[in-house]
């Protein structure tokens, strides 16, 4: 695995605007983001020979290739498990490039998640099919436990019980994300920071989660261009070198409902990812100047800080106190505002922010950034990256 470290880089990033109603097809959003990423890299569609997206993406690789004018493809791949796929798309692309299977791979995620199919709405069909996933869901859906907020809330309640964390501790994550989004013109919540009191006063979605513990629902698309680090150095933008990339799943893993493992207060799959990332990169928590932590719901930001080694078990509430994860804190987390503040593009917009931080071009630039950690969907089999300058 160490052979992957440093051999590839993200050479281009692109996105559409982030909205609640794009007014365009998901395929068009995908094509627009891919064009933007290729332009950013200074490459043309003819240079692309590989494509990776999420299993959940509604736009097939060949459809996007047709719209963009991409010709022969020698590599195409999908990554499973919802938002857990985000950094996994980059891992797959990096492996393809490092092994010579492809030279230039585009990763993309495009959806109308607010104006089209909303992941937060109950879908009675979830438990309908006797596939392994349908059967897994069937232990929960009949009881009305069928929304992402509810699945996460079950972990959050146990976490609070075990470590004495409170709703206000979760609220501090939301406050930090909204503070960052407030100064990011691309963010839906640009210019709209919140106070902890507003978080506390927001209505219950699923106790113990308030509305402001939940990320947005967004329409939009993000694309990334992955190529060799060597080639990336000759392209338009300074490369974000893929110092480490990993996927992770744990024992007894389920999709969002791993309630049957010994402990319900951690995210063992993120522990797997973290250990691989540190080992592959030769770095540790003190070596990253910013982190992009998947924030579909606030409680799992705390859990990730613990699983990734930024603090001990149960200590994240102290870590996030007093602006600890804000832009001028001990570890700036999600300077773009995350999915709570910028947009919910299934984690792909976070990878783009990590690239900007490495380039030094973010609107909320952290000083002296050399390495950035990125994570993907939590509560599901997931993935992560360490990006570095160079």
């Amino acid at each position: 695995m160490s052979s992957l470290s440093g051999r590839t880089a993200v050479a281009g990033i692109g996105a559409t605007e982030f909205s609640k109603k794009s007014g365009r097809s998901e395929l068009r959003l995908a094509a627009e983001a891919v064009f933007a990423a290729l332009d950013d890299a200074g490459l043309s569609p003819a240079d692309v020979d590989g494509m990776v997206t999420y299993t959940q993406d509604a736009n097939q690789e060949i459809a996007v290739a047709r719209e963009v004018g991409i010709g022969d493809l020698s590599f195409f791949s999908r990554v499973h498990y919802g938002g857990g796929a985000a950094c996994g798309t980059v891992l797959h692309a990096a492996m393809a490039v490092a092994t010579g299977v492809a030279r230039t791979v585009v990763c993309y995620r495009a959806f109308n998640e607010r104006s089209g199919r909303r992941f937060g709405q109950p879908d009675a069909r979830l438990g309908g099919e006797p596939s392994s996933q349908g059967l897994e869901m069937s232990w929960h859906v009949p009881y009305g436990l069928m929304t992402p907020a509810a699945w996460v809330a079950m972990f959050a309640r146990r976490y609070m019980h075990a470590y004495g964390a409170t709703s206000e501790d979760f609220g501090r994550v939301a406050v930090a994300m909204r503070r960052h989004a407030a100064t990011n013109p691309a963010a839906w919540f640009h210019g709209r920071p919140i106070m902890l009191e507003e978080h506390q006063a927001s209505r219950w979605i699923v106790e113990p989660l308030h509305l402001l513990d939940c990320c947005q629902e967004s329409d939009g698309a993000v694309a990334l261009v992955v190529t060799s680090a060597e080639r990336a150095r000759d392209l338009r933008r300074s490369p974000a070198v893929i110092r480490a990339a990993a996927q992770g799943s744990g024992a007894g893993q389920m999709m969002m409902t791993s309630y049957y493992r010994d402990d319900m207060t951690g995210l063992p799959e993120m522990g797997v990812v973290g250990r691989r990332l540190w080992e592959q990169s030769g770095l540790g928590p003190s070596d990253v100047q910013a982190a992009i932590l998947y924030d579909h719901f606030t409680p799992f930001v705390l859990t990730q800080l613990e699983e990734l080694g930024f603090c001990g078990r149960g200590e994240a509430r102290d870590y996030v106190a007093d602006g600890g994860i804000e832009i001028d804190g001990r570890l700036p987390v999600n300077p773009h505002g995350g999915q709570l503040g910028e947009a919910y593009i299934h984690g792909m917009n976070g990878i783009a922010e990590a690239v900007r931080q490495i380039r030094g071009t973010s609107v909320n630039q952290v000083r002296d950034v050399r390495n950035v950690l990125v994570t993907a969907g939590t509560g599901v089999p997931t993935s992560g990256l360490v990006l570095s300058g160079g």
């Binding site: 109950p122 009675a124 309908g128 859906v141 009949p142 079950m154």
Partner: protein
């Protein structure tokens, strides 16, 4: 749950059922009023059926019927006894069976089947006569409602000697479970009628589990009032949720144990938003830890959400969600 079977009662019931079946078709009283337009109009109005062939003489005359006809689904209406049942109800071979069940504690009733066949439309002036055959008694069966017998009969309606419609009707007569008291308000469903005839089949509950050969035993158990936990037939390990292979010893030989029905809250949520089909918010979903050593997810009912807490002692109960699905749920208990 204990199976309360009185062997003498079962024998007596069986003998009575045989006699009643042998009695064949028993004619009842003719409809109190002939098929008539005012009654049709009220029924069509109540049901929201605007088809003009039922009420509009001119439109009906121009239709294939050539005149007003009665909605076929009204067939039972014409010969219903009315509020004062004794005055207008002829004897049927079913009555004695139902009475014997009532008299022996099987006071609950829920309609489980109603299948009608229509041979022709009824017209104003027709005066149908029902004739009832007793056609089946099966049981005792263990159901989530309680132990009971399924009773089946068939009715044929005649106009003069012409059969115009037929119906198969089946009810479950059951001993109401004593631990099922309380409203179903928590889960948005009510317990099945205890003592009163059900108005008809329940609407299907929308949140159905997928079931396959690895999980069917659990749902069949729930329908019989048993909380079943998969057990490896070789190494004995308990496992929930179940699966085809024992992860400890690779055995595919499976059996199950019936759990004690006790548990406690390991974690829980109170769902408020968005609305969930088939459910009334707020409702509680918990991860329940069983003394048998496994965890299971279920609703905590008959308890205000604000009183639920981690560690709360629970006892299993069962809720009939529709005609097919029974879900195990949890209610508070004393420690």
């Amino acid at each position: 749950m204990t199976l309360i079977t009185d062997p003498t009662l079962h024998d007596r019931l069986t003998a009575l059922a045989e006699r009643q079946a042998a009695a064949g078709e028993v004619r009842g009283l003719a409809a109190a009023d002939p098929v008539n337009v005012p009654m049709i109009r009220h029924w069509a109005d109540a049901m929201g059926d605007a088809n003009p062939v039922y009420t509009d003489a001119e439109a009906a005359a121009a239709s294939v019927h050539g005149g007003i006809v009665a909605p076929p689904a009204m067939i039972q209406v014409w010969t219903m006894p009315g509020v004062n049942r004794r005055a207008r109800q002829g004897p049927t071979p079913v009555d004695d069976v139902l009475a014997m069940l009532d008299g022996n504690g099987y006071t609950g009733v829920v309609a489980t089947n109603c299948e009608q066949t229509y041979h022709r439309y009824l017209r104003p002036g027709d005066r149908p006569v029902p004739a009832t055959r007793f056609t089946g008694l099966t049981g005792p069966k263990r159901t989530a409602l309680g132990e009971g017998y399924f009773v089946t009969w068939n009715v044929t309606w005649y106009c003069d000697d012409e059969p115009v419609a037929e119906m198969l009707f089946r009810v479950l007569k059951f001993r109401p479970r004593t631990d099922r008291a309380g409203s179903g308000a928590q889960d948005g469903r009510t317990d099945s009628g205890t003592g009163e005839a059900s108005a008809g089949p329940r609407p299907p509950y929308p949140l159905r589990p997928a079931v396959n050969e690895d999980t069917a035993f659990f749902w069949e158990g729930a329908a019989q009032g048993e909380l079943r936990i998969q057990k490896c037939a070789d190494c004995g390990q308990l496992r929930h949720p179940p699966g085809p292979m024992c992860p400890s010893c690779r055995s595919a030989a499976r059996t199950h144990v019936v759990a004690s029905g006790l548990g406690e809250v390991y974690s829980y949520v109170v769902h408020h938003h968005p609305p969930v089909p088939g459910r009334q918010a707020p409702f509680v979903v918990a991860v329940v830890e069983l003394p048998e050593g496994v965890r299971i997810v279920g609703n905590v009912v008959d308890c205000p959400p604000s009183e639920v807490g981690i560690g709360m002692p629970l006892r299993v109960t069962y809720r009939q969600m529709d005609d097919e699905l029974v879900l195990p749920m949890w209610i508070p208990r004393e420690p």
